[in-house]
Amino acid sequence: MATKPISEPYRHPVNDPMIDPRTGEFAVIAPGHNFTSVTQKIANVVLTSHTPLGWFFGLIVAGGVASLLVVAITWLVLRGVGIWGVTIPGAWGFAIINFVWWIGIGHAGTLISAILLLFKQSWRNSINRFAEAMTIFAVVCAGMFPVLHIGRPWLGYWLLPLPNTMNIWPQFRSPLCWDVFAVSTYATISVVFWYIGMVPDFGTLRDKAQLPFAKWFYGILSLGWRGSTRHWMRYETASLLLAGLSTPLVLSVHTVISFDFAVAALPGWHTTVFPPYFVAGAIYSGFAMVLTLAIPIRKFYHMEDLVTLRHLDNMAKVMLGTGLIVAYGYGLEVFMAWYSASHWEWFMMWNRMFGPMGWGYWLLILFNIALPLGSLWWRKLRTNVAYLFAISIVINIGMWFERFVIVVTSLYRDFLPSSWGTYRATKWDYMLYVGTMGLFTTLFLLFVRFAPMIPMNEIKMMLPQTKIDGMNAEETVDEVA
C-alpha cells in the first residue's frame, strides 16, 4: 500500500537490516522509518478511499457468520436452554466453555497493554492496540454467554446488586456473583484504557482526514486533543494509572473465573491450583489469539516492518513460558489425584483420561502441551510465520479443549454412579459458538478499518529520532504527533 513491502529478510546478522548487529535480535521496527512514514503507513489504512476488496469480502463472510448468532439467540430466547446439549448431570456445557475461552483470550491484550507497559517492554507498542481491541471484542463475546446460558436471561440483572423495594441482594458467597463484578470491571477498564490510548491517534486522524465526515467523526473521538505538552503529560499519567489498575485485573479476572469451578465440591473442579493455572492458560491462549490475528493482518496490510519477527518471537516465548505453567498445572492435577489418596479425585482422573470422553483429554495434551511446547524452543520455528500461525490455532483449539475437559468430564461422572450421564452438544451450541467467532471477526475488521490498529504515537517513540543519540538524524519532529 503506502510503502513497499520489505522483502523476506536475509537472515544474517551482518547483512540483514532487520537484525540488530549489537544484540543479534530482530529489530522491533524496520530501519528507515521516520515520523512521516509511520503516520502515513498507519493512518492510510483508515483514511484511504480505496478500501481493499479483501476487507469487504472478509466483512461479508464474518457478518454472515455473525448472523448465525442472531438466529441462535432468537431461538434460544424463544425456546429455552433446552435446545442445547446441557442436561443433568452436565448442567454446564458449551456456554460456559466458550465464556471461559473468550475471557481467557482477552487476557493477552491486557497483559500487553498494562503489565508490559509497566515493565517498560517497549516492543509491545506495535501490537498493543490490536491486542487491546481483541480483548474488548473477546469480552463482548464472552459476556454474552453467562447471560444467555441462564434459564431466564431476561432476569439476568438480578445478579447485579440493584437497590429494590424487596431488599433482595445477590448472594455474595456465590462465585457467579463474583464473576459479575470481575468481568464487568474488566470490561470497563479495558474499554477506557483502549480508548484513552487511541485519543492522540484520533487527533492525528482528524488532522489527516480529507473527508468532512471523517474530520468530524475523528474530531469528536479525539476529544479536542491538541498534542500540547500538558496533554501528553496527562495522557502519560492516565496511561500509567490505568495500567496500574489493569495489572491486577490480568490476574484477578481469571482467578475469579477459576473460582466458579474451584469453589464447587466437584472432583476435577475442587482444586487450589486452578487460579494460577487458569491465569497462565488465559495468557497462553490470549497470545495465541494475538498471533492468529497479527499474522494475517500484518501480511494483508504489509505491516511486516512494524510488527516484525521480533514481536512474533517474543510472543512465542511468552506462550512457551505460560504453556509450561499450564503443563505444570496439568501435571499437578494428576499428581494431587494420586497424592490426595482421595477416591473421588483418583476416579475423576481415571475417567478423564480413560473414560468414554478420554479422547478430549488426550487432544488437550496433544494440542496444548505436546505440539507447542515441544517445538517453540527452536528459534527457527518461533520465527517461522506459517508455523507460528498454525501453532497459534492449535493452541486456541487446545485451550478450548482444556475448558471442555474441565467442565464436561468432571460433571458427567461425579459422585453417584446412578446419575452418570454424558454430554453431546447440539447444532444450536455450535451455532452460537461459531456465531460469536463471526461477531468477533466482524468487530475486528471494523476496528482495523476505522481505528488506528497500531498506535502511531507509541511507534514514533521507538524511532531513533526520539532518542538522545538520534537527535542528529535528518528529520526532527515537525508535525503534531
Binding site: I88, I150, G151, R152, W158, H343, P417, S418, G421
Partner: protein, 954 residues
C-alpha cells in the same frame, strides 16, 4: 423484584350457595377403590373443591393400610387424560358421527332383539370383579340365553386357573400369608413390583415387615427369599438368592422340587436346588412357594403340591374362591370367539373395556375377525385402536367418575363412588348391560345400590352409608376353603417344550399390558431393572449379547411363528441365556403418549402359549435406534460403555462400573445377618473415610446447630429429617408416581428423557454388584437430601435456594434465574431443571389435576424435592390452631404415604421420641456421601440380608 411482575387478569367467581361440607382450600377425602383385574385396590381420594387431585390407599382397609402401587397412583392422570374419548361415536359407511347414548341403547336393543334369544351376541369384557356387573350379566343371560360373555385380558391368570382346576376341581385363588413365612420361594413370581401380581400390597408389606432386622426379645426372625426367575425383577433383586433360569428350565426346576430328585443344570443351579429344597423342608409350614401368575400351569401345580407337602396350607397360604366373579380360561374363550367370528356366527360383539384389536395375540388376527361382525360396540376410555374399528364407540367413564363395586385381594367388596361428574358424560359397563334389561333407564348408581342389598348384611341404608364411608363392606372377605388340598394333579406338559431360543412375554413394569401406555407418568417412569423409559426392548443376557454380537444401538428383528417385529436389544444384568424377554404394551398407534413408543410384542404372541414361545430367530437389521435408557443417558455411550468400562482395572472384566463404584464409595451398605450380629456397627466399619466429619473439626462447630428454643413457649424448634430403610425398599416405584401427583411434576417426553433431563424429584437408583451374569442388585430411593451444609445454597448467585430455620433446603422458584450451578454442586444430582417449558399450561383437563398447594414451575427454573413442604405447613397450621406442637406421624410425605413397605420415614429429628429420630440413632443408619460434609438430613438404614450359609460362598 418478583413482586413487580404483573399477574394476569382472571375472574374469580365465588359460590352463590357454597356446599355445606366444602371449605375452599381444604381438601375432602372419599373412599372408593381402583378396580384392577387381580383385585381392587381400596383407595382414599383427596378432593379439592370436588376435583380428585391425589389417590392414596385407604388406611383403614386391611388390603391397603394406606398404601398404593404405581398403577393406582397413576390412574389419576388417566382421569384427566386429554386424549380420552369425549363422545358416543357411530361409524357407518366410513363416516364417524357423534351420537348419544340413548340412540346407542335403541340400536343395541334392536340388534339383540333381532337374534333368537341372543344367539350370536357376544360380550367381550375385561375380568369381572364387580359383583353387580356379574349380577347384571346373569340377568342378561336369563333374558337372552343365547348371549355369551367372554372375559379376556392380555395378561391374565389362565395358567393358575388351569392348574387350580386340575388340583382342586374348581377355580381357586391362593392368598399368601407372608407374615408367617420364614422361607419364601418364588418361582417367577414378581410379587414385589405392582398389583400385576395379586395382593401386591399386603404381600410386600408382610414381606418387608418380616425382612426387618430386629433385635430384642420379641424380635421375629428375618425371612429368607429365594427367587427363581427368568427376566430379572425387583423381587429377584431383593432375593437373598436368585437363580436366573430360562422359563422352560423353571418348569423343570419346579418338577424336580416335587419329585425331590436333583436338578440337572449347571453346578451353581444344582447347588442352589439342593439348598432351597433343604431349606424349604427345614422350615416346613413356615415356608411357602409362590408361583408366578403367568408361569406355566406346571409351575402352579408344583407349587400347590409343594405347599401341601410342606404343610404350608393354612399357615402361609390359604385357598379361597377367586376374586374374579365369573372365573374363566380367557385365552381359550378368546380363541373360540375368534373362531366363531370368522365363521360368521357372531352377529353382535360388545366390547366392554379393553383394547383387543391391539392387544390380542398376533396369530389370532382379531381385527380381521372383528371386521366380519356386522355390529360391533366398543366401550372404552379412548377411541383407540379398537374404538376406531367398531361401529359404535361409547366413551367409558373413569372409575373415579362411576358407581360400581369390586372385590379386593381378600375378596372384600368396595363400593366405588364417583368423585366427580363424568367429565365427558362417560358410561359404564353397568349402563351398557342395563340397556338390555327391563328397567333400562336405571342409572348405575341405582343398579349398584339395588345389588348391594345382596352383600350388605343388616340395615341396607345404614350399611350402604357405612360401606361408602369406610370404603368396604364389612364381612365380605372370603373365608379360606376348608380342606382344600391339592390332588396330585396331572401336570399339563409345558407348551413351550422343544429346543431353540425362547421368547418370553411379560407385562411391562410401567405400562402393564398397554392400558397405561398413554399415561405420561408411567411411560416416563424408568423401569427399575432396565432403566428403560418411553421404550421397550428385546431383553437379553450379556452372553447372548456377545455371542450374537448384538449392539444396543442397532435394531434386531425377532421372528417367531412367521411373525416379525423389530426391537432394539438391551443387555439386562442377570438375565438367563437362551431366552429373550419382551415387554407387552408398547408399540401402540393411538394416543399422544402411547404412539410411536417401542415395538408391539403382541404381534409375536401366540394364543396357544401366550407367555412363552420357542424357536425364536434373531436377525440383525443394521438399523440404528437410540434407546431411551436413563441410567446412562446416551446409547452410543452405553453400548460401548458396557464394554469399555469393563476395562477399568478393578472390574475383573465382568462387573458394572457404576455398581462397583457404588460399593467402593459406600453408597450402598449391606451385610449378611451373621456379620451384622457380630459387628452391629457394620455400616460404619472399614468406612472411616466415608463418615461425616465431626463438628469440632470445623472452624465453626456451631454452624449446623438446630437446637434453638422458641422464646415464648420454650419449645424446641423443628428439624425435619427423613430416613429410608434399604432393607424394606423393594424398588416398586410407587413413591415416584405418588411424587408426580403430589408435586405437579411435568412429563417431558422421550426426546428429553433420552438426553437425561428427567424431572422426577425422587428416583430409584439401581446398582448391580458383582458379576453381570448373576449380579446382586440394590435399590436406593434418592431425592433431595436437604443437606444442612448444602453446596447448592452457597453457589446460587441470587439466593434462590435457601435454608429454612427448620433445616429444609427450599427452592424459591420465582427468584431462580436458572444458572444450574446448584445442580453442578449437588453430589446427589437430585435437582431437576426446566430446560424448556415442560409444564403444560394449555391443556384444560390437566389444570383440574394439579395440586393447588404446589406451584407449577415454568421454564428456566430449578426444582427438586421439598420434603412435601406443603404438607408440613398444613400440619403446622393445624397444630398452631390447637396450640400444640406437631405430633410425630402427623406429617406424611407423598412418597412415604405411598410406600407399600413403610421404607420411608419422615419426622422431627429434634423430637428424640419420633420414629425418624430413633431410626437415625440406630447403628445401621448412615448417610450417603457423608465424607463430603454436606450433612444430609436424609439418611439410609443399611441393608441386612439373611443368606443361606450353604450358598454363602456361591
Amino acid at each position: 423484584m418478583t413482586g413487580c411482575t404483573k399477574q394476569p387478569d382472571e375472574q374469580i367467581y365465588p359460590y352463590v350457595k357454597q356446599p355445606e361440607d366444602l371449605v375452599l382450600g381444604k381438601p375432602n377425602f372419599f373412599a372408593t377403590a381402583h378396580p384392577f383385574p387381580t383385585g381392587a385396590i381400596p383407595v382414599l381420594i383427596k378432593s379439592q373443591e370436588y376435583r380428585p387431585v391425589k389417590i392414596d390407599g385407604n388406611p383403614e382397609h386391611p388390603m391397603s393400610k394406606g398404601k398404593t402401587d404405581l398403577f393406582t397412583q397413576a390412574t389419576l392422570l388417566d382421569l384427566y387424560d386429554p386424549d380420552r374419548s369425549k363422545h358416543v361415536i357411530k361409524r357407518t359407511m366410513g363416516q364417524s358421527i357423534n351420537s348419544d347414548f340413548s340412540e346407542f341403547q335403541t340400536a343395541l336393543l334392536e340388534q339383540v332383539q333381532k337374534t333368537q334369544g341372543g344367539q350370536g351376541v357376544v360380550f367381550l369384557s375385561e375380568t369381572v370383579t364387580s359383583p353387580t356387573l356379574a349380577a347384571q350379566w346373569k340377568q342378561v343371560q336369563a333374558k337372552y340365553p343365547g348371549a355369551k360373555l367372554v372375559q379376556w385380558e392380555p395378561v391374565n391368570r389362565d395358567n393358575a386357573r388351569v392348574a387350580s382346576k386340575a388340583a382342586f376341581g374348581e377355580y381357586t385363588d391362593a392368598q399368601y400369608k407372608l407374615e408367617n413365612a420364614d422361607v419364601i420361594l418364588s418361582l417367577d413370581a414378581d410379587f414385589l413390583q405392582s398389583n400385576a401380581f395379586p395382593g401386591f400390597l399386603p404381600l410386600s408389606a408382610a414381606y418387608a415387615a418380616r425382612h426387618r432386622y430386629e433385635t430384642g426379645p420379641d424380635a421375629k426372625p428375618m425371612n429368607r427369599l429365594y427367587v427363581v426367575e427368568s427376566m430379572p425383577t425387583v423381587t429377584g433383586a431383593k432375593a437373598e438368592h436368585r437363580l436366573g433360569l430360562k422359563p422352560s428350565d423353571i418348569d423343570r426346576f419346579a418338577a424336580a422340587l416335587i419329585a425331590g430328585t436333583g436338578f440337572s443344570g449347571n453346578e451353581d443351579a444344582q447347588k442352589y436346588f439342593t439348598a432351597v429344597l433343604a431349606d424349604l423342608k427345614k422350615s416346613g409350614s413356615k415356608a411357602v412357594v409362590i408361583p408366578g401368575e403367568q408361569a406355566s400351569p406346571a409351575v402352579h401345580a408344583a407349587a400347590y403340591a409343594l405347599n401341601a407337602q410342606l404343610g404350608a396350607v393354612g399357615s402361609t397360604v390359604i385357598y379361597t374362591q377367586p376374586v374374579a366373579e365369573i372365573p374363566s380360561e380367557q385365552f381359550a374363550d378368546l380363541r373360540n370367539l375368534v373362531g366363531a367370528m370368522n365363521a360368521g356366527q357372531v352377529k353382535a360383539l360388545v366390547i366392554l373395556g379393553g383394547n383387543p384389536i391391539y392387544s390380542t395375540p398376533g396369530d389370532l388376527k382379531f381385527g380381521e375377525a372383528a371386521s366380519k361382525v356386522p355390529f360391533t360396540v366398543h366401550l372404552g376410555s379412548h377411541d383407540d385402536e379398537t374404538g376406531a374399528r367398531t361401529t359404535w364407540h361409547i366413551n367409558q367413564a373413569h372409575y373415579l367418575e362411576s358407581w360400581s363395586d369390586a372385590r379386593a385381594y381378600d375378596g372384600s367388596i368396595t363400593i366405588l363412588q364417583p368423585m366427580i361428574d363424568p367429565l365427558y358424560g362417560g358410561k359404564t359397563a353397568h349402563d351398557v348391560l342395563q340397556s338390555l334389561l327391563e328397567n333400562s333407564g336405571m342409572s348405575s348408581f341405582e343398579v349398584v345400590q339395588a345389588n348391594s342389598k345382596t352383600y350388605i348384611k343388616g340395615d341396607a341404608a345404614a350399611g350402604w352409608r357405612k360401606a361408602l364411608h369406610d370404603g368396604w363392606v364389612e364381612g365380605s372377605a372370603f373365608e379360606a376353603k376348608s380342606g382344600a388340598t391339592a390332588r396330585a394333579a396331572t401336570i399339563p406338559a409345558s407348551a413351550a417344550s422343544g429346543s431353540g431360543l425362547e421368547l418370553a412375554f411379560k407385562a411391562d413394569p410401567g405400562v402393564y399390558d398397554g392400558r397405561y401406555a398413554n399415561n405420561g407418568w408411567l411411560q416416563e417412569l424408568p423401569r427399575q431393572i432396565t432403566h428403560l423409559s418411553w421404550d421397550n426392548a428385546a431383553l437379553v443376557s450379556l452372553n447372548t449379547m456377545t455371542d450374537l454380537k448384538l449392539d444396543e444401538t442397532e435394531m434386531i428383528e425377532l421372528e417367531i411363528h412367521g411373525q416379525k417385529v423389530k426391537f432394539p436389544p438391551l443387555m439386562v444384568p442377570g438375565h438367563p441365556d437362551g431366552v429373550v424377554t419382551v415387554h407387552l404394551g408398547q408399540g401402540r398407534w393411538y394416543g399422544r403418549n402411547a404412539q410411536f413408543v417401542g415395538s408391539d410384542a403382541y404381534k409375536l404372541q401366540s394364543s396357544s402359549s401366550p407367555y412363552l414361545s420357542t424357536g425364536l430367530k434373531i436377525t440383525k437389521t443394521g438399523e440404528k435406534h437410540d434407546l431411551c435408557v436413563t441410567s446412562v443417558h446416551s446409547m452410543d455411550q452405553r453400548g460401548k460403555a458396557a464394554q469399555s468400562d469393563l476395562d477399568h482395572p478393578a472390574l475383573n472384566g465382568n462387573e458394572s462400573l457404576p455398581g462397583h463404584e457404588a460399593m467402593e464409595r459406600s453408597i450402598i451398605r449391606t451385610a449378611p445377618l451373621a456379620e451384622v450380629q457380630k459387628t452391629p456397627k457394620y455400616a460404619h466399619e472399614g468406612n472411616l473415610l466415608r463418615e461425616t466429619p465431626e463438628k469440632d473439626e470445623s472452624f465453626f462447630p456451631d454452624a449446623w446447630s438446630y437446637t434453638k428454643k422458641d422464646k415464648s413457649t420454650g419449645e424446641m424448634q423443628y428439624a425435619w429429617g427423613m430416613t429410608v430403610d434399604l432393607n424394606s425398599c423393594v424398588g416398586c416405584n410407587a413413591c415416584v408416581v405418588s411424587c408426580y401427583a403430589e408435586n405437579n411434576i411435568p412429563v417431558i417426553g422421550r426426546e428429553q428423557v433420552k438426553v437425561g433431563r428427567n424431572m422426577q424429584w425422587l428416583r430409584i437408583d439401581t446398582y448391580f454388584e458383582g458379576d453381570l451374569h448373576a449380579p446382586k442388585a440394590h435399590f436406593q430411593p434418592m431425592m433431595c437430601q436437604h443437606c444442612e451444609n448444602a453446596g447448592c445454597e452457597q453457589v446460587c448467585p441470587v439466593g434462590a435456594t435457601v435454608h429454612t430455620p427448620e433445616g429444609i433446603n427450599t427452592m424459591v422458584y420465582n427468584r431462580c434465574v436458572g444458572t444450574r450451578y446448584c445442580s453442578n454442586n449437588c453430589p446427589y444430582k437430585v435437582r431437576r431443571f426446566n430446560f424448556l417449558l415442560y409444564a403444560d399450561y394449555e391443556t384444560e383437563s390437566l389444570k383440574f389435576m394439579r395440586n393447588p398447594d404446589v406451584s407449577v414451575r415454568s421454564r428456566g427454573v430449578m426444582e427438586k424435592c421439598t420434603y412435601c413442604v406443603q404438607r408440613i405447613e398444613y400440619a403446622k397450621i393445624e397444630a398452631d390452631k390447637e396450640g400444640r406442637a406437631v405430633r410425630d406421624g402427623e406429617i406424611v410425605t407423598a412418597c412415604q404415604q405411598a410406600c407399600p413397605t413403610d421404607a420411608i420415614i419422615f419426622g422431627d429429628i429434634n423430637d428424640k421420641n419420633s420414629r425418624v429420630a430413633k431410626l437415625k440413632a440406630e447403628e445401621r443408619s448412615y448417610q450417603v456421601l457423608a465424607d463430603l460434609n454436606y450433612r444430609p438430613r436424609t439418611s439410609y438404614i443399611a441393608g441386612v440380608t439373611n443368606p443361606n450359609p450353604e450358598l454363602e460362598t456361591a
